[in-house]
Amino acid sequence: MNAAVQAGNVGETLVFWICAFFSVLGALGLIVSRKAVHSALWMALVMINLAILFVANSAPFLGMAQIVVYTGAVMMLFLFVLMMVGVDSSDSLIETIKGQRVAGILLGIGMGLLLVFGLGSALTNSTSVGLDAANGVDKGNVQGIAHLIFTDYLIPFEVTSALLITAALGAMVLAHRERWIPRLTQMQLSRARFAGSGHPGNLPNPGIYARHNAVDTPALLPDGSTTDLSIPGPLVARGGIRPVDHAEVDEVAAITDGGQS
């Protein structure tokens, strides 16, 4: 990029305002959504827009990393957790104090105004150097970043591995339930199946009727009788078995016989 691109760049201005609009919209959506899932989707919107803004700020590598690490991995994890704890989770974990909400909003807006105007006035006269020179030193953005990571920021880089280990340990400790009974082998399982008095093979398929194609109707066996064994357990527990209309069964039998003879 050259200086002319930097100075009066209509394209960048447009990209900035569009992305700024969407990221602020997403951020507001994140905090006002009633359901956590909607918040997560708004959050993903913010992150994608920020990735575009990173690229627009001569940080292509960071933009990609943002997509890969944040949008790809972190938001996915958030969504996994939301699916697990229930999509419409709204659990109050912080004690409600009267007026806390209003106080929080006022405090946040106050801080925001202080930041925006403080930064605005402090930075009005600042000029932008641009990253062309810095990226040029090592002939490329990624090369320059690699240079810094592996020389100046060597210690933080190696120490982040401690963070990764902690994270994996934490995930295992809190979420993994190691089995304490050895897993049954195929042979043991099949022995157990035939040793008991249960039904060793497959249970009959659900009943098939032209009029009533449903799992809650007992199946019709080849000999013309019906069996309740085809009904799924949860339906039996709920008492959801539909009684067999024997007139229908006879009718079916009559039709079949009539066709044959």
Binding site: A27, A40, L77, G108, L131
Partner: protein, 99 residues
């Protein structure tokens, strides 16, 4: 296009995130608001890297991403654990931590 605008945008996003933390009660939404604040800080780093013409701002933002991802793993593990416990246990200590 003045790059200072990016810094202002980051301040706005940071404040919205802070409001989310202060106002919302759902642990997951609070946590996402914190992530928003970290992202806002990253935007500030990237913008300042360009304003100052120093690449290390981008490297710092990169480290922040990595650290934040590790933090997310730990935080969500804690949240999952507490949700599982609450779902399955008849809460015998209903008046938990107060204030």
């Amino acid at each position: 296009m003045n790059p200072v605008n990016y810094v202002i945008l980051s301040a706005v996003l940071f404040s919205i995130g802070a409001i989310g933390v202060l106002v919302r009660r759902n642990a997951i939404i609070v946590f996402m608001s914190v992530e928003l604040m970290l992202n806002a800080a990253n935007l500030a780093f990237v913008a300042f890297a360009r304003i100052n013409g120093i690449l290390s701002g981008q490297v710092i933002a990169f480290f922040v991403m990595v650290v934040a991802a590790a933090e997310v793993v730990v935080g969500l593990a804690i949240i999952v654990q507490i949700f599982r416990t609450r779902r399955s246990v008849s809460i015998d200590e209903p008046n938990l931590l107060k204030h």
